[in-house]
Amino acid sequence: MGILSPYTLTAPSTAVVTGYQLLADGTLLPHLLASAGRAYTGLFLGVTVGVVLALLSGLTRSGEALIDGVVQIKRAVPTLALVPLVIIWLGIGEAMKIFLIFTAVLVPVYINTHAALRGIDIGHVELARTLGLTRSEFIRKVALPGALPGFFVSLRLAVTLCWTALVVLELINTQTGIGYLMNRARDWGQTDVIVVGIFIYAILGLVSDALVRLIEARMLAYRRVLGT
């Protein structure tokens, strides 16, 4: 960032001071919590529904016919064009924002998990069949564990997506949130606050990603792969 004039983007050192002030005077935390509430509710819903849809679509023909096209269309249409629709359905409150994050998160979770399910070794499926596993046993013991590596990749995408998707949404009817703070800072040219925001996103991104990879490493400890 050295090549930037300090006016375009504040020097990191100044931003640290600003960040500390915002923290100390209690401004930052409520915004952070507000955003976190939205982001993680959306994340939770998106991950849950994404996995369920991936299971329905990956393991049943009728599920695939019903679900896959809809998800493909959803992800092809920019959020901008969805906002008016969702406002009609859910109003301009929190529900609308969480819904849009939920659908944004759903996309990579669905695509990755679905592909991972489709990529399960046929040998394991044959085994499940000959062992007479029930549908539920098959899902819990074979399909989900087999799709876990793909699911974790999508989770890594999702944990940052839920935050970045929020920036645009926190333009609509909100007085809280990091996105709101960033947008307001842009309106008034407060580059130090923008840099604080970038720092927050970067830290959140690195920490969430590291966390997911930690859980991943534990849950996939059985694997004998290049990355271990």
């Binding site: 006016y7 375009t8 009609i88 109003g91 301009i92 333009l171 009817n173 709101y180 008034w188 040219g189």
Partner: protein, 302 residues
Amino acid sequence: ALTEDPDTTLAVADQSELVRNLLDASGEASKLGFKGSFPNFAGGPAILEAMRAGALDIAYVGDTPPIQARAAGTLLPIVGTFTRKVAQYRLTSRPGLVIHKLAELKGKKLSYVEGSGRQVFLIEALNRAGVSLKDVELVNLRVADLPDAIRSGAVDVAVLTEPHITRLVKQVGASPVLDPLERQILPSTSYFYARPEVLAEPGKAAAIGSFLGAFARAAKWANANRQAWAKYYYTDFQRITPDDTAAIIAGESPLEMQTAAEAIPHHQKLIDILYQAGSLKERFDAQTSFVDTYDSIVSAER
């Protein structure tokens, strides 16, 4: 004639949280005779979408959104108008370029934010200078990117507001257009428009009256207590440095509420400018965009 009900709810779309702060700072917020909410938005299009969805009752918007809504086939009647004589917009040139006469805009790269008040301001500036739209290079940009476009010299002239103008002048040597005519191009006008269904509901219609009254009083307070208002809103709430706040206040003329009759001519002018620029397919009659229901309240309270 209109009776207020304290249980009536009124959703007023806000921008930059100006309305809410003005009511708070002036003490009017606590006296509202209804349950008001002030959802904050960024820009007219999102407000129009929320209006059409029925999520809002009235909205604080800039000068072009009512025209755009009407062009889209949704007539949202204007219930209140307020204006500042001297525009908050300024034509600002990039570092290394000083423009002394509006006529010098000819052949320049000009920022163009389609469908916004800045577009109208620019067109009118060119009209005043006798320069045709064809004789300049228009660069579509988002409002948020304008300061950086000037800073990096990506455009020659942009329509900016404070505190960016003062800041760019100080930091990189940008310059406002020096032509005195530039300060007379257009006033800054904003509107409250309403969903037609709301006007037909007696309770809400009464609440709107009460709100407009409160807003007029709040505006009067802000005009009379410029420093207090500036500190409350710009310095404390928006966290703008005292220097920048001073810059904003310095160029700002007082907030004036207008009745429909007073507001119609200017609104017609806006329509005409947009029509001339080709942004409107048909030339509306400004008269039919207004309702005069609240003129008495405005006249009494301003």
